[in-house]
Symmetry: C2
Subunit: 645 residues, 2 copies
């Protein structure tokens, strides 16, 4: 066994190594807190963490067995994989993503039975690893293409990346087990093979970069960081073959620091950005951080949907051009939402800009939360903002052959989204708060407890009570506070005009992006009140596809109209809204707005002089539901952006 | 040599057999005229026919040699094709489409040198045909997959279809040569292999159906018609495997007559519709004609762009849902335009509804004419109505790997569009006029001559003089007329409010779809005046993607704004038009309209309260050019639909 990493000198990342969180930079403006320090006790996200444990993780494990992706590892061990392998070339990574989800879930709850299930999968993976560390069920075994013979599409390094992220979760939660050994051995093999003097390639799907940096942070082994930098430096220099979609598809068109905006395959672009920030932070390379931040900011301003979703093209699962954001053809892959959160989180930690927590919140509520069904046994893969034709219900026993926007499906031929949702939900607590020299920053509002040790060793303990986002009131009780000066910073979302903070009865106005309370004593009671009236939202006029429409939002939630709420189940085409009449809440997170209802009429010609088109229209009250709940009541047509009268 | 077709009794399709035109039904409401009967002498289309002969056809022949697609046939003959073959699985068909274009061009002009070039390609193809008639360079030869082992994607029957269409062109223009022998032998092989008791399959790409019906019409051999019907009856009954895009991609989801609208891959859907009409016409099966007409009408009303372009999806080159017509992601493959003309023409002939000639005109001027460059050496493959980012100029020596909307490219990995344009231009005269028992119908306005023999043997000879579409005046001189009662019907386009027809000095108002002149004597002078003032066009409000915009049209031409005409080459995003001020012609087919010019401003957030967004705007006069000319002045951004103020 060649670990290597114990032979290398750890170099000052002690804090990072011990933080029970997926991202723990050596240096940062804001430091993450581990999921052992933050507990979500219920509410919107607590409910979903429970669902993740009870339904989502078991569902994924069951399907991975059923479709044979876990058994691929057994087949490598017994030499039959060349003839029996099932799944796409990257299916190993789905098993690893599940292991990461399980690892965080075990760290969160100490679930012994889950620990045993994890170990049993790990044993099967271990049996498939080759003596030099190589590990893949699709390449390099008998009757298979040789190792690294298809870096464009083979995904071998991408798979290692997810394996390593799972191992990091284990290390950070205090385990140094077989999974960690496998991952370190694979990482050493990668360094041996793709080092500066080795094979001068990169992976067609970035992911190994962020994983290697985190493995360095978790183990202190510098060669992992160096290898991440080697991959990042090689990117954009045409080491990959050109493909039909162009080299921008896998960001091999121009070097990372030279790009102006994210482009190509959305998940690839975002994973690469995450890795680039990670490596730059460790090298104190602020120009690269700034370059990625500039690209991500422009992407948020010009290539991001109202939901936080990213990716306008189905063909290549890619970003479109600036302002090309069709709601009906929004691809908005769930994984791109997960990946956008990864980037926003890294930029938040390194820059200290709390506005990134707005992006995380928007994406969590309107992309990640939209994916699983109420039962946690079916998932959205794409997240369009307009569904023109009601989808076909999925057979709960069938693999969905397509990533089309239909109803949620139990499983997909490409099934990255379910385990990506699972690992995000399991690690969710880390996104709730950060700490720095001065105090604690409360970023996401969920009921629970937070425990931070400030730099001088003094403890802050907070108790948070809220029904957010059903309600805008968040009560923070200071259970323990430092004797010295300290700060409690509350994120104020950009939409929260008129927010107030009450500290022990004293009310102040609070403005985005944050409000800071100084030196709150133990037993202080701080009440943040965010305005939760539904509001109209309009889009930049350069987003052509939603010209002449408005959306309704309430707090962090994007709302939508569904045909099941319209007279006779009419199509959502049939609406013209009057944005002068404010929408009003009607309970349970729903909202109603007055609209002109225009039953579909027939026309002869689609183009011409159509001023007289609207007829037989009448006023109705239009119910709107949170977007994340759409399609929970059977097939429907749906739209977020409603035409104005 | 097993022709078979001489052994069978021709059965009353004599007229059809002799018509020098691609479509010649046995029975029809309107009968086509051959390209020997109609001569386009110049003008918009005459210029393009000349370009086709001088540049487009030679360019295509050169590239097909260069990329080795013609040489694939030689490689079959010498047994090396399994190792040397180049091109996609359907590249044989591109050679056949070129042969069809050459055949019509030879029929049009009697070009002897072109005849020799055609024969030399035909000889090479002949050498690749197997003794039983099988002919394909991708399957069925040594070291290749076996015949018909991949009906979903193999395109073998599709290739025969194009071979047969080329042979029909030869038969109809009086040649019974090697090409005809090859095609009939292949057709006989298809009937032998896929007959009622044979292999129960259909081709993943329809095309063989329409080709077999026309071969029946040209030869009188009924088994070809029967085999077409067998394929059409099998379609929609899941004989093909399901694929990622679903069976609707190749219209194998439901039987033809049961569909409500065209769906799936646009070219496939349209070729199938053409074949279904052809077969139904020969069987006097009016329910099937009516079903296809209903589907095509709904497609025109809900799934067709202003240009006549069809297909909203890049991913599967497919129709979108009803009203899903994004201008920026319009795929609008040039071939789908060609295919739509094929369907409209067949429906026009069988129903006699001249409004289909409006559709043909719109598609010819705004899709087909847009494809070739001014020099005839580069082509558009897709035809978007909004270009957000200026394209990269194509290297004239490079094969374009993608069907992306960039600038016109010299060649494509999938190069169906150039030869499809070439065959359409070569056969264009047939679409100009039809005849029936009563007289002649003038459908497209181009300078030239028309000669029709009415049923009683009396001749009509017309001389047409016009600068259309630069000008709306069309002068028809009756050179020869029957002594008895007869009619000359002029198509009045649906946009032509206020059209007039002057007969020997007497002016009448004329209304769409047609105006009929009775019993015009020889030497009569008939002047049609179509209003050519530029006009605003709005879209059905259910086409979400162009809400709040207008387009400008002039006669049959759709106009567009290009960034090269804006101050400082600004992006076409920067426009807000006032549809109360009429646009005005400025010569050379161009138009100008007053717009508010809004130089791009920076914004922080793309969503929010943006009422105050427009600033620093000023009025300019916006030049608009015919869409078919766009991108002729270098890279530009472009839009057809202009936002209103």
């Amino acid at each position: 066994m060649n670990d290597g990493h114990n032979a290398t000198q750890p170099d000052g990342v002690t804090t990072a190594r011990l933080t029970v969180a997926p991202v723990a930079p050596g240096t940062a403006t804001l430091l993450p807190l581990g999921i052992d320090k933050i507990r979500i006790s219920g509410g919107f996200w607590g409910h979903r963490q429970q669902l993740n444990r009870d339904a989502i993780i078991p569902h994924i494990a069951r399907w991975q067995e059923r479709v044979g992706w876990t058994a691929n590892f057994d087949a490598v061990a017994n030499g039959t994989v060349g003839h029996t392998r099932s799944g796409r070339e990257f299916s190993d990574s789905e098993v690893y993503k599940l292991l990461e989800a399980m690892s965080w879930e075990i760290a969160r709850t100490g679930d012994e039975e889950l620990e045993q299930r994890l170990q049993s999968i790990v044993e099967r993976i271990a049996s498939a690893q080759q003596p030099d560390g190589y590990l893949n069920t699709r390449f390099g075994n008998a009757d298979q293409p040789s190792r690294y013979s298809d870096l464009e599409w083979g995904h071998e390094l991408y798979c290692y990346g997810h394996l390593i992220q799972a191992a990091v979760a284990r290390i950070r939660s205090g385990h140094h087990d077989r999974l960690v050994e496998i991952a370190c051995k694979a990482a050493d093999h990668v360094c041996d093979t793709f080092g500066p003097d080795g094979l001068a390639g990169v992976c067609g799907h970035p992911e190994i970069e962020t994983a290697l940096v985190e493995l360095y942070r978790a183990t202190g082994v510098r060669r992992y960081l160096r290898q991440a930098r080697v991959f990042l430096d090689r990117r954009g220099r045409h080491s990959l073959q050109d493909i039909e979609f162009g080299r921008s598809y896998f960001q091999d068109d121009i070097p990372i620091a030279d790009a102006q905006v994210l482009r190509g395959h959305a998940v690839r672009a975002l994973y690469l950005s995450a890795g680039a920030v990670d490596a730059a932070v460790e090298a104190d390379d602020s120009p690269t951080v700034e370059a990625v931040e500039r690209q991500y900011q422009r992407t948020l301003q010009r290539r991001t949907y109202l939901t936080g979703g990213m990716g306008s093209h189905h063909q290549d699962e890619a970003f479109g051009d600036d302002f090309e954001l069709p709601p009906d053809r929004a691809y908005c892959e769930t994984c791109a939402g997960v990946a956008s959160i990864m980037v926003a989180w890294r930029l938040l930690l390194t820059t200290g800009n709390l506005a990134y927590a707005d992006t995380i919140e928007r994406t969590l509520y309107n992309v990640v939360a939209a994916s699983p069904s109420t039962e946690g046994t079916a998932f959205f893969y794409t997240n369009p903002l307009h569904q023109r034709v009601a989808g076909q219900p999925s057979d709960p026993d069938e693999v969905s052959p397509r990533a089309h926007a239909q109803l949620r499906a139990p499983w997909f031929e490409v099934a990255c989204c379910p385990p990506n949702v699972a690992r995000t939900l399991a690690q969710l607590a880390t996104y709730v708060a950060t700490t720095n020299r001065d105090g604690v920053q409360l970023l996401q509002y969920a009921p629970g407890t937070i425990h931070a040790s400030l730099e001088d060793g003094q403890d802050v303990r907070l108790d948070v009570s809220t029904r957010y986002p059903d309600d805008g009131e968040v009560t923070v009780t200071v259970v323990a506070a430092p004797r010295d000066r300290w700060t409690l910073t509350l994120r104020i979302p950009s939409w929260a005009d008129g927010a107030t903070v009450e500290v022990d009865g004293q009310v102040s106005r609070a403005q985005a992006p944050s409000h800071t309370v100084h030196d709150a004593a133990a037993d202080s009671r701080i009440v943040l009140r965010l305005p939760m009236e539904p509001r109209w939202t309009t889009a930049d006029p350069r987003i052509d596809a939603v010209r002449g429409t408005v959306a309704v939002e309430r707090g962090p939630l994007v709302l939508c109209a569904e045909s099941v709420d319209l007279p006779g189940g009419a199509d959502v085409q049939a609406l013209r809204i009057d944005p002068k009449q404010p929408p009003r809440p009607v309970g349970d997170g729903a909202v109603a707005a007055g609209v002109l209802f225009v039953p579909n009429g027939g026309i002869e010609q689609p183009y011409g002089r159509l001023d007289a088109y609207i007829e037989d229209a009448y006023d109705i009250e239009l119910p709107l539901v949170p977007y994340h709940r759409w399609a929970n009541r059977g097939p429907s047509t749906m739209r977020v952006w409603i035409p104005t009268r």
